[in-house]
Symmetry: D2
């Protein structure tokens, strides 16, 4: 098994089949029913091996989230708000945070980013209220669309808008692809590495990094799909291992993919109830985002300012 087609650093690490790797630090702990896994990739070689840029990846996992358990939702939301709060820079004075909802709102499993934007408390234009309400921080939020819809490289558009907004932090929200179906809809990954070429299912291809935008770039993502080809390969490899057979060679796997899947274009594996799952996840992530970005407001004050 390799790190083939997963956006989760924890799966890329587990896919190596080793309990430790040079250049990678892994810590796991539990809090309130949520399993947190921190993967720190600290050198280029490890980054190359895992296919993930250097930086810190924090995964929050909670199986019951998938079946919309209220306690699981509260626990994930609280932990995400806390951890995100720790990653954000100080936001005192006249500075602004910019939230970026990546993905295509017309494609359900790719619509997480735009759905979070709709629930984000946006305040940058309320300059009068910003001074009247001393604790209110300035937040802008955009859903730039995907290149297939706009004709514009997503990251180019985001970079231009960042030049205008001059944020002290950029927080990107995106749908991810996982390897293990149990993680779909049950896991949130939080990273400080920005968005990098080749990472993710998306069609946004240039990097969005601290170097590119002049501010730290935090990414929050939830796996909403598995690639159909990944599932087919995993099924084969799982059964092969059970039989003690030698692994299939790459050419055979590629033939299988072409034969079973390629006639049909890009097939994804997703939960039946993906529409409701995206709405739920957007609610949890937006609530955590609003809390972390507005630490001086109560949930009720945030709700009253939304509309």
């Amino acid at each position: 098994m390799n790190s083939y087609r997963t956006d989760l650093a924890v799966e890329a690490f587990d896919g190596q089949g080793q309990s430790a790797l040079p250049g990678v630090d892994v810590n796991r702990w539990e809090e309130g029913g949520v399993t947190l896994t921190e993967v720190i990739v600290s050198d280029d070689e490890a980054a190359g091996l895992l296919g993930k840029p250097m930086g810190r990846y924090l995964t929050l996992e909670c199986g019951p989230l998938r079946r919309r358990d209220p306690d699981a939702r509260a626990a994930m939301g609280n932990l995400l708000a806390e951890e995100l709060g720790r990653m954000l820079p100080e936001m005192d004075g006249d500075v602004c945070a910019m939230v970026v909802g990546l993905g295509n709102r017309q494609i359900t499993p790719d619509a997480l980013g735009p759905a979070v934007i709709e629930r984000t408390l946006v305040t940058r234009h309320l300059s009068d209220q910003l001074s009247a309400l001393p604790g209110l921080r300035s937040v802008a939020a955009i859903a730039p669309g995907v290149m297939g819809v706009t004709g514009i490289e997503t990251m180019d558009a985001v970079a231009r808008l960042a030049e205008l907004v001059k944020p002290v932090a950029v927080i990107c929200i995106d749908s991810l692809a996982a390897r293990d179906s149990a993680r779909v809809g049950a896991t949130i990954q939080l990273t400080d590495t920005g968005i990098q070429p080749g990472a993710g299912v998306g069609n946004h291809r240039r990097a969005l990094t601290q170097e590119a935008v002049g501010a730290p770039v935090i990414a929050i993502g939830m796996p909403t799909v598995i690639h159909a080809a990944t599932l087919a390969r995993d099924a084969f490899e799982w059964l092969n291992r059970q039989n003690g057979d030698t692994p299939a060679d790459e050419a055979a796997l590629n033939d299988m993919e072409r034969s079973l899947l390629s006639a049909a274009g890009d097939m994804i594996v997703t939960p039946r109830e993906i529409d409701a799952l995206i709405q739920d996840a957007a609610g949890i992530i937006a609530a955590a985002l609003n809390r972390a970005l507005q630490p001086d407001l109560s949930d009720a004050e945030i709700a009253a300012l939304m509309d």
Copy 2:
């Protein structure tokens, strides 16, 4: 390979791996770029083997439909209108047809039926216009919802409404599951067998047959998903065959399913662009339905009456 988890009679037949079966007649031909396959199941034994009730199954397949080719859409629409017209009883005098959109509008790949209902020309309530426009036939249309949403067996609800409407024909529209990913979004199945227990992905469980409703029950369906477990099994079996290995036993396949998929609930394999595909298919099927149900009206007259 078996007929495991497909709603298409043609796949159930092909899954037997034999060129002919007693009690099954298969004919294939082509018209305007569309491949038509007729499967006639004429005795109980064949029905049991294929897992499909006795009757006629007509499949229209056109690969370019999946990438929304305009010629493919026109060809499929025309053929579907024609074949459906042939299956419908005479509708002279004071009689009504009832269209039933099965499925759950909240779950994208299951929303085909309700989406067709929204585009169906409904006329039953226009009694004055029905007499003024001599060619206008009476049509009612319902989207009864699924049992998980209503708490009512779908087929019980449809039967009660059929008692009220007393239709001369019932036409059910539903999303189907296929086995072969190339058929998803590219195939329409038309049958005269009604809807039977255990057929389909759906949650509607009782039969909707001529016996049950006192009128012929025609079903139109398009595959919108493959079950994830089917794909995993097919991947394994494909590779096995390449290797000349003995087929996996059922216990191993079940273990694989549980291990790779069961933690995650019901996973489906679907095209990334399923939202647009459902809208397209609903447009094609509704246009064919409107033409077949209103043979004396032009397309422009039908459009003018919609609203």
Copy 3:
């Protein structure tokens, strides 16, 4: 001013311009920032004068609800759950309540009923869990659509489904028309009179009453629109009163309506943010409904059973 085109009994009463009327009892009080008005219509003459059938009408009003104030939402939800609980019959033993979401989901201001159905905890099909969870009551929920979409009289369809479900209570949810723009999105009316011909904006025309379905019929509605013609008339009459002029005669008002509005079909007056307002209202009403119908479950248990 007359009771022209309002679905609210309190507006029909106020429109008479008298502090008291024979056959009508009116009580107002306040609870937690919500104004409650009870109008009891107790004889036929009063019913004819107000254009409202005999029975009890309870209006809950809270201005800040319109701007989505969280305290207003909580207060309205709590009071609605309580008052609805009082109106419902005992639901011990093997009995079922049936919730009916009236209106057209394709027309935003008319979509309140179907939106509530999507958030109602439906349990009738969970017979195993119903016996395992002793406190769980049986609930079915339907959104029958409007006659223009189905071709079937809405009330005929509801009556047929009630024959199947045999509920001990029917609770109908509907969008209403008000006279006063301040009530749109800020008022909920709860009645025990059923749904009567001619009442409401809707296209459901036959009565849904205790006599018709053999069970008490409770209706919950929120005004989401004002008729454009009502607003135009009110504007004229308001200015006329300011000037001390004699009221316009009906013929002049009808000419004005035709001249300003009739070319354009049915125009409605609605808040700009009607899409969000419908979602909010559906959330409040469904939460109250779920609590009143499941008095032995906590909010968390209700949430865990939804999905």
Copy 4:
């Protein structure tokens, strides 16, 4: 009557109640059932009087469009494509047009712009196909959102993205407010004046003009609403005129507005079927746009490239 709250130049002119005005040229003609009115505002004084910047305004009106008549749709689409084609600069060589869908997709009557973007053939990213298909022009399309959702002045965002795309023409699509209810859903206005402060219902406040973006700015809009206050005033003035009374003074009209409408926030008057009307209008405008921007492609070639 004054030019109060209309986005249509033809209504601003008609509101002056004079058959001719200095600095304004008006021509009306008919083509295929569509009434075209050209208003050319040629000096500052006329611009001030009408509240519309100098430039050319072309209105296409067709009453049957509102009830979705297929011939009306075809006629409007053809004329719009032609007239837009005449306004566009030559697009030979390596140049790009940028389509901007203004408005808020979460608010139905304001969602016309984003709905057109979803149906626009976008090609700027298909550099390989652009060279392979010699007739294919480069088109980008954005839906920047409204300031209340993004926290960013819409025009600032558009200007930044125009710096990136460097278009030879910008085409903005927007929902408009009319004065006369018969024009809602039945009229399209095409102008070459750009988008100016104060024009329109929108929340985009800075100008988007040739000076600001360095390319001609064409605007296409359809009235989707009337302001409730406009309707109330018109009703009063209409009845007043019938009575031969003196016009109401502005203070009385303002009092009326506050009394009837202000408690309720921003009320709009819109057709009941606004959701369907927006989808129809978006289809007509996008088809015309695609034809005008891709004069060397057939409708079938355009459809085949969409997806």
